[in-house]
Subunit: 313 residues, 6 copies
Amino acid sequence: MSSFQHIKPAGKAQFKDRYTTKAAELLTTYTDGAKGDIAILGAPLSKPSISHSGASFAPDAIRRSLNSFTTYNIEEETDISSKTIIDFGDIAMHPTSIEECHQRIYQAAKEIAQTEAAPFTIILGGDHSITTSTVKAIKETKGTVGIIQLDAHHDLRNTEDGGPTNGTPFRRLIEEGHLKGEHLIQIGIRNYANAKAYHDYAIENGVTVYTMKDVRQRPITDLIESALHQLDPKVDTIYLSVDMDVLDQAYAPGCPAIGPGGMDPDTLSEAIQTAILHHKVQTMDIVEIDPTLDIRDMTSRIASLLVLNTLIN
Amino acid sequence: MSSFQHIKPAGKAQFKDRYTTKAAELLTTYTDGAKGDIAILGAPLSKPSISHSGASFAPDAIRRSLNSFTTYNIEEETDISSKTIIDFGDIAMHPTSIEECHQRIYQAAKEIAQTEAAPFTIILGGDHSITTSTVKAIKETKGTVGIIQLDAHHDLRNTEDGGPTNGTPFRRLIEEGHLKGEHLIQIGIRNYANAKAYHDYAIENGVTVYTMKDVRQRPITDLIESALHQLDPKVDTIYLSVDMDVLDQAYAPGCPAIGPGGMDPDTLSEAIQTAILHHKVQTMDIVEIDPTLDIRDMTSRIASLLVLNTLIN
Amino acid sequence: MSSFQHIKPAGKAQFKDRYTTKAAELLTTYTDGAKGDIAILGAPLSKPSISHSGASFAPDAIRRSLNSFTTYNIEEETDISSKTIIDFGDIAMHPTSIEECHQRIYQAAKEIAQTEAAPFTIILGGDHSITTSTVKAIKETKGTVGIIQLDAHHDLRNTEDGGPTNGTPFRRLIEEGHLKGEHLIQIGIRNYANAKAYHDYAIENGVTVYTMKDVRQRPITDLIESALHQLDPKVDTIYLSVDMDVLDQAYAPGCPAIGPGGMDPDTLSEAIQTAILHHKVQTMDIVEIDPTLDIRDMTSRIASLLVLNTLIN
Amino acid sequence: MSSFQHIKPAGKAQFKDRYTTKAAELLTTYTDGAKGDIAILGAPLSKPSISHSGASFAPDAIRRSLNSFTTYNIEEETDISSKTIIDFGDIAMHPTSIEECHQRIYQAAKEIAQTEAAPFTIILGGDHSITTSTVKAIKETKGTVGIIQLDAHHDLRNTEDGGPTNGTPFRRLIEEGHLKGEHLIQIGIRNYANAKAYHDYAIENGVTVYTMKDVRQRPITDLIESALHQLDPKVDTIYLSVDMDVLDQAYAPGCPAIGPGGMDPDTLSEAIQTAILHHKVQTMDIVEIDPTLDIRDMTSRIASLLVLNTLIN
Amino acid sequence: MSSFQHIKPAGKAQFKDRYTTKAAELLTTYTDGAKGDIAILGAPLSKPSISHSGASFAPDAIRRSLNSFTTYNIEEETDISSKTIIDFGDIAMHPTSIEECHQRIYQAAKEIAQTEAAPFTIILGGDHSITTSTVKAIKETKGTVGIIQLDAHHDLRNTEDGGPTNGTPFRRLIEEGHLKGEHLIQIGIRNYANAKAYHDYAIENGVTVYTMKDVRQRPITDLIESALHQLDPKVDTIYLSVDMDVLDQAYAPGCPAIGPGGMDPDTLSEAIQTAILHHKVQTMDIVEIDPTLDIRDMTSRIASLLVLNTLIN
Amino acid sequence: MSSFQHIKPAGKAQFKDRYTTKAAELLTTYTDGAKGDIAILGAPLSKPSISHSGASFAPDAIRRSLNSFTTYNIEEETDISSKTIIDFGDIAMHPTSIEECHQRIYQAAKEIAQTEAAPFTIILGGDHSITTSTVKAIKETKGTVGIIQLDAHHDLRNTEDGGPTNGTPFRRLIEEGHLKGEHLIQIGIRNYANAKAYHDYAIENGVTVYTMKDVRQRPITDLIESALHQLDPKVDTIYLSVDMDVLDQAYAPGCPAIGPGGMDPDTLSEAIQTAILHHKVQTMDIVEIDPTLDIRDMTSRIASLLVLNTLIN
């Protein structure tokens, strides 16, 4: 760097207020042995998506959105400026082999889990197809996995019709033996968003399904606590899989599969805040944000807020 | 069609999951004598609109949005994949004679009503000017009509200043003797969205008016049930006229006359679900969506959901 | 003007319904001695903004949005068509001297306050930096000022790092001796939207702070009434400062600093309606709308509605 | 107007350079007896268009674009700041009767022609359907009309299939006896932009047709001079009808019927500059700009330049 | 279909002029044994693209753009309304196996070539990765293939770094033995658009390379005739591969890899018109249009024009 | 950095082809004593602009666009991959003092000039107001400055009406004695883009003015060579000031002051290539690109190409 008086490196923010820490400043590039409060890893893969998706741009968009937040949580009167977010960077994807991409995600997720760099890890997708790989990696590192999935869709499609698409992650986990159906709890499943066959599959395999009707009728904290209570005695670690399309289209315009009738962001946030209080909840993914479709990064901004909230507990 | 192994007709979806029925697949082009569960007819007319409107593109947008939904209603645990939506197609409009367009809508609505192809018919506008024609057709087919209108506006403007615009449909019905004021119930009328003169006209003609204040203060099911109770003994058939601008601008960005202070989609959906349980509710229109102004077909997606919900009752 | 039969002046609306008064028609250009029900003044300044902002276009956008409203408040059954909005026009800003701009705002606000043209005055920003100038003008005209600020941010940044930016207006008022901290009440302050140092500054200076948690947990009317009760005995006049980013991003997409977790427009509207009932509430500003980022003037439409509501009390 | 030091009327430009006259300042609202160098009249009608069109917004957009130009023509070293553009305003259109709209255009065009307010008049469309009305008015005021039409399309469609659409203006003029085919010269007609039947109609009726191939192969000045030479002895007045879609889509992205293979703006400008040197060229229309489709008013800016150039001759 | 008077099938154009044939009407779905003047096949694949690409939407966009053209070529005074475009439809792609996609393209291209349905076939991409598959299919059907490639890029990248991406099609053809370097002629290669290593590869393998400098300095007809003259004695069939990014960004805003310094559409059109006069030129592809990035389908409209021009020779 | 196999740092390109060097890779952050072939410095200032401008985002956009180019110039058969672009970063601007911003630009430009890090320096604006500061710095470092300005506008406005706006840079240089009028040569000045008073000022002060008519009638190389010939004996160093709005709006949609009738990019590129062959041409600025208005960074892409071309001479 130069030492000129009024010159700053290219790409840095124009203005710096000496008393303000931007949340993005918490990001610390991982180096061997580093420890932090949470860790993030980008999995910028969206070619497996059934519909055209730019979800591969989401890790950048979410990191960028962290510049729109400070480190001070006024409601909890807590400043997280001393917290560290270990940033492992992004997994480099293969341009033409989706199988290789999924393999790389598995491998990278496993390697970073083994670093034990942070007690809580967030994987930023990408589309939902990444979850098979990350959960498999977590299972091999931490033992039996239970999943609380916040999603409008079951994501239990058969793989014969299209291979490992973003409609199949939990089906693949069950079929490949990495996950028992009864260790999967789905919250926010929506009307006219899934085939009956996949709902039947869920039921037949012991998956617990809470629809949006359940979300409207019961406090989200109840649903999450039930889920935690159900999983706690059976699994070694709990994984939160947050498909942002669980939100209503008015709040999350940047999801590929938008629609009416979804959750609002406060409810989603409360769900996650409730869950992370449980000590077995150690990993989360946030998937299905396509920044090329979003409006002013609104959906990524919500994702950033979810990330920050995990630093408060 | 060719019989090549991996070729599909132009315009068809790339990917087909064998277990998933898209709601759009329920659409069945009408042929003489066909019967279905509901029927739809497009009335792609927006030239009568006072402000520039592309509502003529809405029938296509709503049909297109049906591709974003499956046939499984998880909250009711009901699969509607065996239901049939008779699609009568769209009324061909005259490019330069609005009078002729309105006449064609009347004639087509009457002809399709006479087919008795389905117990419930939905007309997809178009702007609200179409409703005079369709109600007139329904009256001649089914007898005295009562109307429950969900709308931010009275649509009772005088016709001297602009002829049969989208601000006049219910005025024209009353003045032409096709509708009694007391058979018209308006729900969702909004502040600063109407002239006082037209509110006075409503009151003087016995129209029942529920404002957004009423909607905020009473359950929508109550309002609808009151309306049904009021109309039932007096009319032969009840017509739902759904102007999508009854919704708040945050939810329905694609309406020409957007504004704050409107209904949310769950309330609108509940209104319609309550209404269609009544056996005299046999016709509905959905009007005032301009897909050229919409964001990612959000407003048309809500319309599609309203259509699908009429298959559950 | 010409007297041709079917010609109208350039720029006027195509269609005129004889019974409908558009809210924009209430705007009356100020002439010496004129009196009205409320007065508006545009302060189209956004160059002091820390981030790129087109808030200088907001006065035009808000006036334009008044064309989307009529004068009839159906919920109160009140027609405001006989009310007058004195339009003082816009302050002409200097292209390259922000100091001069702030001075002009001060001077103009003072001059118009001295006209006593209306009992209630609304300044349309611009960014929030304008408030230092307008409050100073009000203080010199009306005496000790109390402020109720609806905002996601404290706007109490230090001025050494960037001068009189849109992050500093209340800090400058306090430091320059125009405002006591205990005369400032902030409502809607949001998580991760402020530095801890500025929250500390607020507390140390006796500023009352209500966060979004307070807004979620207590009726907004309570918060406003508490604020009025607290200020009433201590100040001569009360100033409402409405930063539109107090609203959630789903409702106010046109604010430069959008984010999730904010207020909805009904709550904001109720806050203002409650406040203006108090006789000391005589001035309001509406700031931080950037029409170049907005969607279909949605945010300006909400601002217009807030303006109209001040005519009902 | 108020006399405050730094306040300007709402809607006026923020900044005024004392030495710069904006071209928009040449616009002078017509009053009885006024005289100017040219006159403009807006005909904001696009409902007759075959495809959805917002060309009704073009008169406003063209006037607005005049703010992007000064009055100094450096190539001719001529300042037009002392010239006057008489602005007759816009014709008020009927919302639902296109026949009435066309009648009003005819009547207004005739009335303004009779004022003899300027030696050259420009009608700003609107779509091309307006030209039948304006030419008829000119004929009744000035005698036999010859037309030089710059257009990608013949606009000679039959009227049975859609009435007086924007595809029919010259057909209607010929069929109604207001124009002889041999008095019509079309320049810029494009491949795959017209039915063969209408080309045949042109030839059978003695219309002179220059295709884009002619434009590519011969200097535009030659084509225009041939046209003038051909019309001069036969007609009393010459009317230029400029359909902006004669331009290539890269230059005129705001035309409803864009396409590749068109003229560039310099050629169009040269055509008009050549034509207006002839004393019988007294009227021009500029049609088929839809500002809602345009990019940054690019197409309207070209139109503004064409208007300004008519002040130099 | 119904027989109602004024109803048309959903999705059909509103207005029909009885004398006008739209170019899209020339499209005839293939049935066994059908014969036409040209044939088209969609290869909607863009997942192999190095950068995010929606080129998979291009076949639909190009077909849609054919609705913007009629069948009359006025410059040649030729009506192509009696011509037939056999539409084979689109190849159904596998969502997660790019290898399978390429295999399906190969297979489909071979099957349709074997039908001999038309003397000239156009494959609509998709990205440029499809060309390896189609050329291989053509070679197996028609013999030794020579290629004239119109492109800003060599598309001769190594495959080790990313597999069969859209940067590799001609490299793969050469390395897999389907194409000799001296049978490949590249026209329009641009500055700073390729690695030196790939230019070296081209030269070492006997590829003929014409840069944009050559295009600026020599008539395009000369370049094409040289290319044909060079290939004619050596190959059995000549394949035109048209990457639309050979055009300048001002004309083809919808290509993923836009840039300044490219060809204009008239030059590209002339190149193709010259080439197709040669009897060995029997196949063409048009690739690298991403309709999600395009402006008003401008780039697809040029593609449609190129398609139509192949019907004139 | 971590040493995981498939992980890359956040923000880096997904895909790396081992043989391809992106032009952006030539950027080397300056460190004391570093030497390169050219140097760049960002001056992200646009608050002095008369109209709303986001030109402050241009340095980032131009650097980003360098990722769209490789290092191989095929027309010159030259690979610039061994060249170095010293990147000094961006000048940190003061949020509210434009005077301070201009002072910082002056100081930074002087400091970097004194490093002699490269024989040719390019300043990336920002708006045109920056040029007064940079030229003053160059003069103090290198002696008498001659300027070749490529621009649609004179930029010789008086400063009394608005201070040091983007309309005044050359006026300020002349009035402050840093530049003689006869050392300023303006090329590309456009019709209706300037006040006559400023053209008069140019002539009276001995400025050489070439209009677009000159550009159309004479080869650009002639104009540049005349300019160089005229300046060479009189000045110590020659500065190229490139206002991108010298280009036609169809090519440079991202300039704040777009309009028709401008230069094409090939001509602009040829002008610069001709100029830089002269040994006294040592500094260039590129100003007036607003990436928030641009289409797909088209205008920044042209700027990037201009930068790269300076590495070939």
